[in-house]
């Protein structure tokens, strides 16, 4: 073989190889994009800037119905309502302040009723399963019919829910796994698993499980402080004028001034709040450009059970592959 032949063969091989590579690269063989599931948009609930609660001042500003705060519709102006204590010296909250224990027809709106009936038909989660068991066999068939009227459905659902309310405490950690309990329910769960408030506890549990609305004012549960010593209504309320609040120094404050009442015991927190270091703030840090918006204590804390309630976290970052906890935080050998 002459040198010419060798050069020719080599050139041909090199050219063929590079052409093949160029061809493969052009048609992107083996260079496919990583397949990953689409990332869903975050639920707009998590973008909601509103506070946990509405304060009295908010209600006044919004021109809302304040009839709930009109104490003397029921109470007598002349005699302060007496306080009743049980054997543990815990206060017995009057039934009127706890709200009704049984479900009434107008407690459940149409949308909630439709959703509730869907969950009962599926009865795949444990709470819906429990309620489903309390529905009679004939009503099972009725519920499964597609042409069932809402009024009929409401009657069946109400009867089943009220049966469950009258039972012993329905709470089991396995049954309520994944359901976020309201802070009020949690306090009741500690105090009322037996006793006269049990039906109310069952009702709250059902409301949390099915996402039913709650009558906020009528529900009072005493859980201010974990020591259980702050159990006298008149520590904060003025017994001679129920529409006023009364710190221990004798000042008389309206409901809109409630933060001053809180500050009369929680001094350091009040000092932080005054300085803007505690609590929510929005608006303008530069007060020459616009107003600063402060929130009251009761915008975040329920005065009757002030502990900040737990909540569901917003979704975290979406990893490109499944991440186990072991991956995310490898064990350290120290």
């Amino acid at each position: 073989m002459t040198a010419h032949t060798k050069t020719g063969i080599t050139t041909a091989i090199v050219c063929a190889t590079f052409s093949a590579l160029a061809f493969a690269f052009w048609f992107d063989s083996g260079g496919t994009h990583l397949h990953r599931p689409a990332i869903p948009l975050v639920d707009t609930n998590f973008l909601d800037k509103s506070t946990t609660r509405k304060s009295y001042a908010d209600l006044v500003r919004a021109g809302a119905d304040l009839s709930d705060f009109d104490c003397y519709v029921c109470h007598d102006k002349k005699s302060p309502p007496p306080l009743r204590l049980d054997t543990n010296q815990a206060i017995i909250v009057a039934a009127e302040h706890i709200g009704p224990t049984t479900f009434a027809a107008d407690d459940i709106g149409t949308n909630e009723l439709t959703a509730l009936m869907e969950r009962l038909r599926a009865h795949s989660d444990p709470v819906a399963g429990l309620v489903w068991q309390r529905v009679s066999n004939t009503d099972h068939l009725l519920l499964l019919k597609s042409d069932l009227s809402l009024a009929q459905g409401r009657d069946i659902v109400l009867a089943a829910l009220n049966k469950v309310v009258a039972e012993p405490c329905i709470y089991e950690s396995e049954r309520f796994k994944g359901i976020i309990l309201d802070s009020e329910t949690v306090v009741h769960l500690q105090q009322s698993q037996t006793g006269p408030n049990l039906p109310h506890l069952n009702r709250l549990l059902l409301e949390d499980a099915f996402g039913l609305p709650r009558n906020r004012h009528a529900d009072i549960v005493m859980g201010h402080g974990q020591h259980g010593r702050n159990n006298n209504c008149y520590n904060c309320h003025n017994e001679t004028n129920l529409t006023l609040l009364q710190p221990r120094d004798g000042r008389q404050l309206t409901f809109a001034q409630s933060s001053q009442l809180c500050g009369s015991c929680h001094g350091p927190t009040k000092a932080d709040w005054d300085a803007g270091a505690h609590g929510r703030i929005s608006g303008y840090w530069d007060t020459t450009k616009g107003p600063i918006e402060r929130k009251d204590c009761v915008n975040c804390h329920n005065p009757h059970h002030p502990h900040f309630p737990p909540r569901r976290p917003a979704p975290g970052p979406h990893p490109l592959r499944e991440v186990t906890v072991a991956d995310a935080s490898p064990p350290r050998q120290d």
Partner: protein, 318 residues
């Protein structure tokens, strides 16, 4: 395969002014291969859907722009955004205020780890939703340690806060001595007079040195064209802030420059349900942050030993 001529009589040599058959074949084979390789190597350009206009290509460096130049650039950005999203944004170039230095304080006792700040930030700052870019990472740490190696930021518990853990959101710390600025080869990122480290997205070449230099993993890179649903675009924009980014540029938290330089609080602070986040002017002795740094017992700067001197303070109370 071109064989050497074995019968020169039957295959006479070509006239001297023409190439031989062999050299012609060889040259054309090499040329074809070369062209094919060139075409294949340029193929990724076909996927490029965002060729710079001449105007953008010739745009001046941010610090060298006259106000007239800036007006033109802002109009161009507004046009481009309107074309892409069907919504005319309000784009401004906000300058630092005199006598203002921003400081962020975060109360670790109050933070419940709900991650609302993460998503408020994404909504405010027009980050890409898919692929996902988030400026804030919330670390879940076991009580009693600040060892970030033990942190989990993918936690998905049913409820927060969980007993035995605390939550620490980490975002750009707006360092006084920022390593990201030092490594930028083109000065596309720098520290402004009010302490915010900013990025000129039109000047960034996407080398990602700053991402590697940052000890807080605060910088994010747009690996693909960002996608934002049209109805979720925030039209209140600033040049150095939340205007839409392109593929191949870095971005990071800028303390919501479009809000804070207009006197407002950042988005992550406004949404925090626990009131754990505090922001303000450290040069003003009456601001919340001055009060916190003056009167709170413990406050830490994350990875203090790196010498970055963050303007982001974590503190505890109670």
């Amino acid at each position: 395969m071109d064989k050497p001529p074995s019968h020169p009589v039957n295959n006479p040599a070509p006239p001297p002014h023409l190439p031989s058959r062999r050299s012609f074949l060889r040259t054309s084979a090499i040329l074809t291969t070369g062209l094919a390789a060139l075409a294949a190597s340029l193929k990724p350009l076909l996927e490029m859907n965002d060729f710079p206009t001449m105007e953008r290509f010739l745009q001046k460096y941010y610090k060298e722009m006259t106000p007239q130049d800036m007006d033109k650039v802002l109009a161009r950005i507004a046009d481009e955004t309107e074309k892409q999203y069907g919504l005319r944004p309000h784009v401004r170039d906000l300058k630092p205020m005199n006598g203002v230095e921003y400081v962020y304080c975060l109360n670790l006792t109050r933070c419940i780890g709900c991650r609302k700040c993460v998503h408020a930030c994404v909504a405010e700052n027009n980050q890409s939703r898919d692929p996902e870019i988030q400026y804030i990472r919330v670390l879940k740490l076991p009580d009693g340690s600040l060892d970030v190696d033990k942190a989990d930021h993918f936690y998905a518990s049913e409820t927060v806060p969980q007993k035995g853990f605390f939550y620490m959101p980490v975002q750009c710390q707006q360092c006084k001595n920022p390593p990201c600025v030092k490594v930028c080869p083109v000065h596309a990122t720098w520290q402004e007079a009010d302490g915010i480290t900013v990025i000129d997205y039109d000047w960034c070449i996407g080398c990602r040195y700053c991402e590697a230099a940052c000890p807080y993993w605060a910088r994010r890179f747009n690996f693909t064209q960002p996608s934002i649903p049209k109805d979720r675009l925030n039209p209140d924009m600033a040049y150095l802030g939340n205007r839409p980014r392109r593929q191949g540029v870095m971005e990071k938290c800028h303390f919501c420059i479009q809000r804070t330089r207009a006197g407002r609080y950042p988005a992550c602070l406004e949404i925090c349900p626990a009131g754990a986040r505090k922001f303000g002017n450290i040069l003003d002795p009456n601001s919340e942050v001055s009060y916190i740094l003056r009167s709170k017992r413990v406050f830490i700067q994350l990875k203090e030993e790196m010498g970055t001197s963050p303007r982001f303070f974590y503190y505890f109370d109670v």
